[in-house]
């Protein structure tokens, strides 16, 4: 259960951090505001998931201790969320792919046999609903915008595609969670994801890559090189001044 909650909370922690890196640097003022909103939602969700994780673990660690005092190998997020922002198209495509998965995941978790999980999911799914709507809207408009915006979105899709498969791979923990009725198998979401993805890509005039190769490891603690740098920044104060209260 603890590991399962880390998987949920680390996704939103890491993606929320990535999105917050844009603050003040986005293409237009309205996007600065929208990105701050998304990052705020993600961090708010993190507090719920990691807060419950700390409670379930029972070692006295709260959400902050889990966010700021674990090293890379203890993180359980999908690799896609730690991929760097690169250009704005890349950032939007990463969000779109994540939101497609996340929204379905949360919708399923609303039916969890664990009331605490179902309760958090019910709160988060409303936000995820809005995130997905915004993501689809932007991917469609930019895919079907200028030749340049189309090319950027297609390139971002191709660069991020190898990180999609990991969302739907079942492992031992997933089987255990499914047996207890806490969370359905990730693989059970794939068909719905594909259908929604294809609909959006068709409107966006973008082509889904053919390869089904998937980079994996994030959910069990083997990450890309990027996560360590992110944590070095994010955890700096907590690590440098371990006695301080902020």
């Amino acid at each position: 259960m603890f590991e399962f909650l880390l998987r949920m909370g680390d996704n939103t922690l890491v993606l929320g951090h990535r999105v917050s890196e844009w603050c003040g640097h986005s293409p237009v003022l309205e996007e600065d505001i929208a990105l701050a909103n998304i990052a705020l939602d993600m961090i708010g969700q993190t507090r719920l998931w990691l807060g419950l994780a700390g409670e379930v673990e029972g070692q006295g660690r709260d959400a902050d201790a889990l966010a700021f005092r674990r090293d890379v190998w203890d993180f359980r997020n999908l690799l896609i969320v730690e991929r760097p922002n690169r250009d704005y198209g890349h950032t939007l495509m990463r969000q779109f792919l994540f939101d497609l998965w996340h929204h379905e995941r949360l919708a399923d978790l609303c039916l969890s046999s664990d009331d605490r999980v179902a309760g958090i999911a019910a709160k988060c799914v409303k936000e995820a609903d809005y995130h997905l709507e915004r993501s689809i809207d932007l991917v469609v408009r930019l895919g079907d915008g200028t030749a340049e915006s189309h090319a950027k979105m297609q390139a971002a899709l191709e660069a991020l595609w190898p990180y999609v498969g990991e969302m739907f791979v079942d492992d031992g923990l997933d089987v255990e969670m499914a047996e207890q009725g806490i969370a359905p198998l990730p693989s059970s979401q794939r068909a719905r994801f594909d259908a929604a993805l294809d609909r959006a890509l068709a409107r966006a005039t973008l082509i889904r890559p053919e390869s089904d190769f998937a980079q994996k490891g994030g959910r069990s603690g083997t990450h890309t090189e990027d996560l360590g740098h992110m944590l070095a920044t994010m955890q700096f104060l907590q690590r440098a001044y371990p006695d301080a209260r902020w």
Binding site: S20, F68, Y88, T146, F236, A244
Partner: protein, 327 residues
């Protein structure tokens, strides 16, 4: 306030009897405390001065995202990170209200932004100073937003309706910003020796630039008289500065930090603090572009704008396609 040294007409204030009938009617409305609305007649100088002041204020909000954005990725707890993000998001929102208020005067946001990016428009000098430790997030909220509030509360009474209404809304959010800043300072000043050192360091560095936010001394402020007569400005630079010092020194003492100005002393007779002027030569250097971060701030804004061009163009192209399809 986030606008300093707003150039007005440069001419002296006309007496009522020197004015044309229109100018006179306009001045009388202002003197009677009426609000001027976008479609009302107004002197060119009033319009120009307001555009400069409101756009400078808007630019300050937009550039002001950067020094605080500098610490969002290093905020020490999830709660602090959320609060800081929400605050910076408010600043971006203030930028939007202010640009919208400026647009009611017949200018376009795109042109105003071009002026900023080309270095033709000013923004508050304070944002050309760096944020070097976490306590700066406290000090910026407390001192910078605190100084801004002193002016902005007064500006709720400004004569131009859309600007005045934007200020009412902005002030509500700014008081939350100042409170969260002071809350960080309380934690830092009451924390470990290292945290207290960060708090003092932030205060020492930001005190003088915060005093500069009110603009040059009244005696040297060539543009104030006409703006005061038009109620574009409703408080002089020195009045605002005095108010800020009077409210802030007791707060510094409450925190248990040293006041950066050793000569600051409460004058029992007037009830006001006497204090040392900031270094005005430094102020004018910063306005000229020689502050520690002027180049970096403008470069960051230009990069965001240039690298985002394809995004804005893509959205416009899609909207056009939709429009054609609908016709």
């Amino acid at each position: 306030m986030y606008a300093q040294e707003v150039k007005s007409t440069g001419k002296g204030v006309k007496a009522l009897e020197e004015m044309s009938a229109e100018e006179r009617a306009f001045q009388e409305r202002i003197d009677a405390g009426e609000k001027i609305e976008p479609k009302d007649w107004m002197p060119d100088g009033y319009r120009k001065t307001l555009v400069r002041q409101i756009s400078q204020h808007g630019h300050s909000e937009v550039v002001g995202q950067l020094p605080e954005g500098n610490w969002i990725t290093r905020a020490p707890t999830l709660e602090r990170k959320s609060i800081l993000l929400a605050k910076v998001q408010d600043e971006a929102g203030h930028g939007l209200y202010l640009y919208s208020a400026a647009e009611t005067l017949g200018v376009s946001r795109a042109d105003l932004i071009d002026d900023l990016l080309a270095g033709r428009a000013k923004y508050s000098s304070i944002f050309n100073y760096p944020t070097l430790n976490w306590a700066d997030m406290g000090a910026v909220g407390w001192l910078v937003d605190g100084a801004a509030i002193v002016n902005q509360v007064a500006l709720q009474r400004t004569s131009y309706g859309p600007y005045s209404r934007a200020m009412v809304r902005i002030c509500k959010e700014e008081s939350f910003h100042a409170r969260q800043g002071y809350d960080i300072m309380m934690k830092m000043a009451g924390g470990t020796a290292a945290q207290k050192q960060m708090a003092q360091d932030a205060l020492d560095r930001l005190w003088w630039p915060a005093l500069m936010m009110f603009g040059p001394p009244d005696a040297d402020s060539v543009h104030s008289a006409q703006s005061m007569a038009w109620k574009i400005k409703v408080m002089t630079n020195d009045e605002g500065r005095q108010k800020f010092v009077d409210q802030t020194i007791p707060q510094i003492e409450y925190l248990g930090l040293e006041v950066p100005d050793q000569d600051a002393v409460l004058d029992a007779e007037s009830g006001h603090y006497r204090f040392t002027d900031p270094d005005w030569r430094e102020f004018f250097e910063v306005l000229k572009g020689n502050g520690p971060c002027n180049v970096d701030r403008l470069r960051a804004r230009n990069m965001a704008h240039d690298e985002g061009a394809w995004f804005r163009e893509g959205l416009m192209a899609h909207a056009k396609k939709q429009q054609i399809a609908a016709e």
